[in-house]
């Protein structure tokens, strides 16, 4: 669930104490559906006055946004609006870009993500990422999924096989690849490769899964299977998805945040934002009049 800038009227389907520190998210495992009125959703990520630059070019302007645990949050907006930059700060992937910097606060369950002394290796284990274009390693299917877990601790053979199977089942790929686990991942179709990348990301048991236009390189059938998967994964993970596809945002997400020119224009429950947006710009964008 999302709050808007303090200035804008707030539509809050879930009552959330705005000042209390967030309790830690339930660890792992399927969690009960939190969308019931009596459940108190926890905030996984809180942003306060977040600004971001590449060199002298400011790409994000004082963004205040909360992302609720075990929900799918869609970030939408025209190209260059800063949504991918925002995503890349949530797991500090922007560290690989020398000119990238940010100010303000970006908080994951009480951990300040903009802290320059942050252990980014540990952060990225907790915040997984799926990229625009499927990027499996040129290794076997098994090795791809086992890659992340093996970075963080050593596994016995059977434990590892079990974990790989679990991850592939969770990403709805197991039945298609169980007979060729030791074949190259590059032999899979684009949609299968993307589901493999999702399996690879969830094998390290992250809390948050970031998806940067995960279906933009896929055909409609593969897109449908990824979308179905996203809806299932919401039970276990907090998901933030960047998408250019309005239908996709409305199909898979619980909340949507609309960005334009580096500013958060409007945010709220997806069905409300798409049917009754408060802002004119949002209405123009979601109805396809620009962007």
């Amino acid at each position: 669930m999302i709050r808007l800038d303090a200035s804008a009227p707030v539509t809050e389907p879930f009552p959330t104490p705005s000042t209390a520190p967030s309790p830690p998210a339930p660890a792992g495992g399927p969690s009960p559906d939190l969308r019931g009125a009596e459940a108190a959703p926890t905030r996984a990520i809180e942003m306060r006055a977040l600004c971001a630059w590449y060199g002298s070019h400011q790409v994000l302007h004082t963004v205040d946004l909360d992302i609720t645990a075990h929900r799918v949050c869609a970030l939408i907006g025209p190209s260059g609006c800063g949504k991918s930059t925002l995503l890349r700060w949530m797991n500090r992937m922007n560290d690989t870009i020398a000119s990238a910097r940010a100010s303000g606060s970006l908080n994951l369950h009480g951990l300040e993500l903009l802290d320059p002394t942050l252990d980014v290796v540990d952060l990225r284990r907790r915040v997984g990422m799926v990229f625009q274009k499927p990027n499996p390693f040129p290794k076997s299917i098994f090795e791809n999924v086992a890659f992340g877990p093996r970075l963080h601790r050593s596994y016995g053979r059977t434990d590892l096989e079990e974990l790989v199977e679990q991850s592939l089942r969770a990403s709805a790929l197991w039945d298609e690849v169980k007979d060729r686990l030791h074949h190259s991942a590059l032999g899979l179709s684009g949609g299968q490769q993307q589901r493999l990348c999702i399996a690879r990301a969830i094998a390290v048991d992250p809390e948050v899964l970031l998806m940067d236009e995960p279906c933009s390189a896929l055909d409609p059938r593969s897109t449908a299977s990824i979308e179905e998967l996203i809806r299932e994964l919401r039970e276990t993970y907090t998901i933030v998805i960047v998408t250019h596809n309005m239908q996709q945002a409305s199909r898979v997400s619980d909340t949507t945040a609309f960005f334009d020119e580096g500013r958060l224009v409007e945010t709220g429950a997806t069905d409300i934002l798409f049917t009754a947006p408060r802002e004119r710009r949002t209405e123009d964008y979601v109805s396809g009049r620009f962007g």
Binding site: T96, F131, V204
Partner: protein, 295 residues
């Protein structure tokens, strides 16, 4: 007009093709003459390729067993490879993954300078520095001429080849693979050792093969620093004669043209050509495989 341009370009292209064919033709015909020379019924391709004594100039009965020259070449090349492959690969890893853009530019300039040093300078370097100041203090068994000093110098000579070709193949590994590995919580070393180097490995192997081919054909360094005695040995402190060094000896010495020693150098050249051709071919096949890898 267009037609004559095409014709001219074709003609110029033929220069290299005709040269290659002519060289092969000369090597083959002279080698055949060596093996069929009158008065030397003991010389056959088999005795040439399997003989263990090479003494074409000494004694009443010259012997033409090419193996000592081959092992001399292999020994020097192996030492050069042991020097150049690890250093070259690790330098490439540093340049491709760790160095800042500024450092990389600087270091690549140094490597280009290294690649431009005439090989005769490396030969003197081996003779006047590596052997007396690095090897002889370690062990008294090293003579003035030895396989080790020459091998190290050849290794330094091929270092820029290993390094720059390996770096090309590491940098060709898509950034998306590095991002994928970082996003799983890899350290920079994890990304380099577990993703980038394995993904670029076939290019690295091709770089090794091409550099070794260059080392096998190297002449000036071994002619100066490895010695002139063809002996079947794996001891790097001994002097050895390589195939190329033998050819220098024959063509610069006073062996009579069309004599048996003179002709023997063509048979040696043919052997050398066959070895380097096989290695270049293998390198090209491996390179082709690596180009297809990310598609």
């Amino acid at each position: 007009m267009e037609g004559s341009i095409e014709w001219l370009l074709w003609l110029l292209t033929m220069v290299s093709v005709v040269t290659t064919v002519a060289i092969i033709a000369v090597l083959v015909s002279e080698s055949v003459q060596f093996f069929t020379m009158e008065g030397h019924p003991e010389i056959s391709p088999w005795s040439f390729l399997t003989g263990t004594v090479w003494s074409p100039l000494l004694g009443a009965r010259p012997e033409f067993g090419v193996l000592p020259l081959v092992t001399g070449t292999v020994l020097v090349t192996a030492i050069a490879g042991l020097v150049a492959m690890p250093i070259g690969l690790l330098t490439a890893v540093y340049l491709s993954e760790y160095a800042s853009a500024k450092t990389r530019t600087c270091l690549k300039t140094v490597l280009e300078i290294l690649a431009g040093v005439p090989t005769v300078v490396y030969g003197f370097f081996a003779l006047t520095f590596i052997t007396p100041y690095l090897l002889q203090p370690l062990s008294e068994s090293f003579g003035t001429y030895n396989a080790m000093g020459a091998g190290i110098a050849v290794g330094i000579m091929i270092l820029p080849i290993v390094c720059s070709l390996s770096e090309d193949s590491l940098r060709a590994v898509p950034q998306s693979l590095r991002d994928g590995a970082y996003a799983l919580g890899s350290t920079k070393f994890d990304v380099t050792a577990k993703v980038v180097v394995p993904a670029g490995l076939s290019g690295v192997i091709a770089a090794f093969l091409l550099a070794l081919t260059r080392a096998i054909g190297e002449t000036m360094i071994v002619a100066l620093a490895a010695g002139g005695l063809a002996q079947l040995t794996a001891n790097p402190s001994q002097q050895v004669q390589t195939m190329t060094a033998y050819m220098v000896q024959i063509f610069l010495g006073d062996a009579p043209a069309n004599g048996i020693e003179y002709r023997s150098s063509y048979a040696v050249a043919m052997t050398l050509f066959a070895i380097t051709f096989a290695m270049t071919g293998t390198g090209a096949i491996v390179l082709k495989r690596y180009r297809e890898e990310y598609e």
